[in-house]
Symmetry: C2
Subunit: 345 residues, 2 copies
């Protein structure tokens, strides 16, 4: 199966996961109820680390949990033994085979922490070391660049948040509406291809997001790097203002993801300044026509709950990266240098 | 005072801080001994966030503490109330005036957490809301690009780690040796200027580090962005292998910081591959002649303890960024667009 097929498959994959939430979630929630972990530790790399970043916001906002992104190298390089006994330790990995991610979950288990593996490979080393396993059930992902496992990981994180604190009817409906919104987002493909063709010479860019959409900005930048060989720099819009804003000039391409709500409100002034005052070229993914019309834009579906939006807003980002790759004469199904399973230690 | 003077002042500033450790550290350590916080939460942006990243490794390795980098936007945009009561909440800010950082410390205080401000401005809003204040005493920092406050923050983090768990004689000596090692690192200025002149046309680059030196890679990239307007992409060497490695080709400049020990061992194979197999141009900051001679390099002082090295290894990075800025015809004392105090919310 080619990358573009896996991109297009995402509404069906998300629908499947939502239709039969992994039973491990209920068991984990019961254990969390008993043990009341003080902190959630998320260990991941690459695309999965961007899903972890989304979860960091979601668990803080929806579950009032304190969330730490693990620094696996502290353990694997320096033998750190951070106190994990009172934590919930979650390893996220498509392949379940990154030794440093396995090492964090293993250390949690050794200390008696609650542990969870979120993976597309139920028979992997990561799944073997964790107390509970959430299988994504995304089907084989053949393309080197992860797409459907990323959005599955986001949906799995939302289901975990629901398992820990029961959703309102409104929240439940918002998550159930994601597959259809994904299908709407995929319908932008022709617009994505056209904008990508116009930017075929783009060798570098800045990618901005804020709040929940910072994860999307990072994941979009990663796809641009690994597929289109574009030097894409992702920032939270707030961090960008602390220095890197000096990069802005009329030669700069700025891509931004600002669907609606606070992630839009918190960025729109900066985007106007970047284009109006500093002359940067913008491409804005947004449900707001006003934001899209600052310069150029791609429409995101309206009425997606802000906390559920990252699983939708990355899709035009993936499509843009895919078509930019082709416009640059590269093969999206054979990105150079990298392999599907990266075994960092 | 110009930027170059502030860069050169760093050994004296670090020496001053080491000679009279802030009394707040002892009081905080006593409170930590009583309260035994489950997690350390670090809130910072920009350069200070890179100091927080260093602390995340140091506190995990040396103090076996679980450390979370705060996502201030979860609080300020979405009203999150993560459970902080059992945490030690530390805000790090040169100016003490970033509202979102103040908001995280304020929320910690409201919930009854132990709180600490680390700042160069004892009269700032951040200092006002925290239980204890570590003043950096770096003197006024006039340049927009932070340098001496960054290394002061690193030294302050090491002193805090010492206050929480008493150092061995060897560790004490290693930290005391930092100012002299900084002076040795500053002596590379002519070499930095020469290598910068040769790379005056460099518009983009990848900056790599690993472990403790990932913070250095990020801070070096930030100086290159805000001063030299170079599109600098920082990665932990492990994350780089998970996808962005596709960027590597003979047109790519790779800067790496790999002083010695594990941060060197964990990167040397990747650096050899990047230059030998993929043709990228390297500039390696290292105490190892072998690592420097893969392609080009700048010598870091030998015999600096790995956990103390980031306060030393950033100095040639700052000097390189400064001279590259001048080589590109830009003014390091007047970076465009950005201001010294950035009040993100």
């Amino acid at each position: 199966m080619a990358l573009i097929d896996e991109i297009r498959e995402q509404p069906a994959v998300a629908q499947r996961l939502l239709a039969s939430p992994p039973p491990a979630l209920g068991r984990l929630a019961a254990a969390v109820g008993r043990r009341r972990p003080s902190t959630v530790v998320l260990a991941a790399r690459g695309t999965s680390d961007n899903a972890a970043l989304y979860a960091q916001y979601l668990f803080a906002v929806r579950n009032s949990m304190l969330v730490a992104l693990a620094t696996p190298a502290a353990l694997t390089l320096y033998g750190a033994r951070p106190r994990l006994a009172d934590a919930l330790v979650i390893g996220i990995s498509q392949s379940g085979r990154s030794p440093d991610i396995v090492a964090v979950v293993e250390e949690g288990r050794r200390q008696g922490a609650l542990t969870l593996a979120v993976t597309n490979e139920g028979a992997s080393p990561l799944a073997a070391v964790a107390d509970e396993v959430v299988e994504l059930g995304a089907g084989d992902e053949h393309a080197t660049a992860a797409t459907k496992t990323y959005t599955s990981e986001l949906v799995a994180m939302a289901l975990l948040s629901f398992a820990l604190d029961a959703p309102t009817a409104e929240e439940r409906a918002a998550l159930a509406a994601v597959p259809e919104a994904m299908a709407t987002a995929l319908a932008t493909e022709a617009a994505c291809a056209e904008l990508a063709a116009r930017r075929a010479s783009m060798a570098r860019c800045v990618v901005l997001g804020r709040g929940y959409e910072y994860a999307t900005a990072r994941e979009w930048a990663l796809k641009l790097q690994e597929l289109a060989q574009v030097h894409a720099l992702a920032f939270s819009a707030a961090d960008f203002e602390h220095g890197p804003l000096a990069l802005a000039d009329p030669e700069l391409d700025v891509l931004a993801v600002a669907p609606s709500g606070r992630s839009l409100d918190a960025q729109v002034g900066l985007l106007q300044r970047l284009h109006g005052e500093l002359g940067a070229r913008l491409l804005v993914l947004s449900a707001s026509a006003e934001a899209r019309h600052i310069d150029a834009g791609i429409a995101l579906p309206a009425d997606v709950a802000e906390w559920a939006a990252p699983a939708v807003s990355i899709l035009p980002g993936q499509l843009f990266a895919y078509h930019l790759t082709r416009a640059r004469g590269l093969d999206p199904d054979a990105p150079r240098t990298i392999s599907k399973v990266t075994e960092t230690r």
